[in-house]
Amino acid sequence: MTYTDEQTTRLGKDAAAIIARYPKPRSALLPLLHLVQSEDGFVSPDGMAFCAAQLGVSTAEVSAVATFYSQFKRRPTGEFQVGVCTNTLCALMGGDELWKSLTEHLGVGNDETTDDGKVTLERIECNAACDYAPVMMVNWEFFDNQTPESAAQIVDDLRAGKDVAPTRGASKVCSFKEISRVLAGFEDGRADEGIGAGAPTLAGLEIATGESSGKGDAA
C-alpha cells in the first residue's frame, strides 16, 4: 500500500516547503518524519517510502534514521501520548508512584495503548522540567507537579474527549497528529497561548526583586 494521489500531492507540497528551509535537502529528514507522523500517527512504511522519494535516498537510510529517535513511533499509537518521567529526579519525587498508579488505572504497560485508542502510556527520560517534578508530558506538553490523583483525572478527561490544558503550554492539548505537524515546522497559531513561566521558573526572580525593589543587584 502506498499513499493515495491526493496524499502524495498534499504532503508533497508540505515536503517541498520543509526541504526549502535547508541548504541541503537531507537536513529535512527529521521534520519530514514528523510530517508523516502527522499523517499516519506513526512512521509508517508508506511514510518512510514517501520521505525516501522526496530526498532521493533509500528507504533503508530513512529507516536507519527513524529507528534512532525515540519520538518516532514504529507502530500506530493513541491520540494522546502520555509520558511519565521516570528518570532519577522525577522518579524519586513521585514519578515511580505515578507510573504505577497509571498503569493500574489504564490497564496498559509501557508503549501500550488503551483499547479505545485514546492513550498510549510510556516511560520517558528527563524532559528539562526538574524543578516541577514529578512531571508528566501529554503530546509533549508540560503537566507539572503531578500526583496520582491529578494524573488519573487527566487521562480520564482525555479519554472522555474533554479539552485538557497543560500547566505550561497551549490552552489545550492537541492530538498527536496535530503536534507532529507543528514539530514538522508548521505553526498552529497557539504560540501566544498559556503562560510564560510557572512559579519555580520565577523563584529566584521573586526573591531577588523582593529584596532589592524591582531590579537585580547588577541589572
Partner: protein, 439 residues
Amino acid sequence: MSKLTPILSRHWAEPNSWSLTTYEADGGYAGLKKAVKSTPADIIQAVRDSGLRGRGGAGFPTGMKWGFLPAPDGGHRYLVVNADESEPGTCKDIPLMMASPHMLIEGAIITAYAIDAERAFIYLRGETVHVYRRLLGAVEEAKKAGYLGTNILGTGYDLEIIVHAGAGAYICGEESALLDSLEGRRGQPRLKPPYPAVEGLYSRPTVINNVETIASVPGIISEGAAWFAAMGTERSKGHVLYSLSGHVERPGQYEGPLGMTLRELLDMSGGVRKGHTLKFWTPGGSSTPLFTEKQLDVPLDYEAVEAAGSMLGTRALQIFDETTCVVRAVARWTEFYKHESCGKCTPCREGTFWLSQIYERLESGEGTEADIEQLLDTSRSILGRSFCALGDAATMTISSSIALFRDEYMAHVTGHGCPMNPRATALFAVPAKKKGARA
C-alpha cells in the same frame, strides 16, 4: 540582600514575556542595535574580554571558540545553537526559551553577525512542542521588525534563522552528534579533530554554543564586557542560572554570579524539604560526581567544583534527602545512559548495558559483593575509552556513589534488596498545604 542577579530572567514575570513588545520594552534588541554599529572583530573581542564560558557543561571560553574559525574563504559559515537540553537535572534553557525566546534570537543574530554566518540554526529537542511554537513565533516577529532577514537594520547584513525540532535523543546534545542529526542522519558523534570550527555543519566552519551562552551575549554587548566580568570569580565570570530541584522547599531557577554556594542558595530558598536532611547532590547534572553536605560551601564555579572532585556542568543542582537510596538513584541514571548510548563505540554501548544489569541484580536482592567491584571495574573500562563524553558521564555517579556510600551498596547485598522505603522519597507524601504552595 541576596546575591542574586536576574539578568536573563529579569522580565520572565512580565505579561506575555515572550512577545517582542515586552522584550523591547525591557531594553531588548539594544545589544543588537549596538552590535551592528561595531565590527565583528570588536564583538568577538568583547566576548573574549567578558570571560564568558560555555554554559552547556564544558565551560570552554566562548570568544576563543569563535576565534577558531578559519579566515573567510567566500564559502558558507554557520551558527548552530544547541537547544537540545536533555542532561538529567538540567532545566534552564527550556524555561528560558519558553519565557524569553527573543533573548536567544537576539544573541543568535549578534553571534552570527560576529562570525559572518548567513544562516543560523536552533536545534531544539523535539519533546517540548510549546517552546518550539514560541521560537517559531519569535523568529517571525523578529523578521517583521527588521532584526532578521535581508539588510538587517540597514547594515546590508542578511541572516536567516531556522528552528529545527529534534526527535528524542540525549546524544544529540553532544555537538558533533547534533550536527549529524541536523544533516538528517542518526545522531552519532564524529571523530575530532577536525572540530566544528573547521569542519562543522556540511563540513563548513561552524560555531556551536548552548542556549544560555548565546542568550548572555546581548547583555555583554549592551552593558559591556567589564560589566559582565565584574560578576563571578577570578576565572569564572558572569551570571548563570542555578537550577534547584528535588527535595527542597522551593525548587526553581536562581540567577546569580558564578561562585555562589549551595548553602547560600538553600538558605535563601527555604532549604531542604522540611523535617529532612541533605544526603547527596549533583553540582551539574547526572554526569557529574556526587557531592554531600561536605561540599555545601564550595563556590559553584568551574575551578572550585573541579578542585572539590566534581564538575560544574550545567549547575543542575539535584538535591536528595536522607530518604533516598543512592543505589536506586544511580541505577536509574545508569539505565538512562544505557538507553541513550548511541551504540557507535564498544566501551559505552556494552559497558552501560552490563552496568545496568548489575544494578538490576543489586536492586532485586541478587547482588553480591563482587558486583560492587565489577561496577568499578567496568566503569574504569569505559572512562577515557569512549568515543564521546557520554561513556565517561555514565561512570561519574557510579564511582562517586560507591566511594561515598559503599555501606549502602553492601546493605543491598547482605539484606537481599533495598533496605529503604521507596515511597518516602515522593513529594506527595508531604501535607496537602505545601503541595498547594508549589503548584
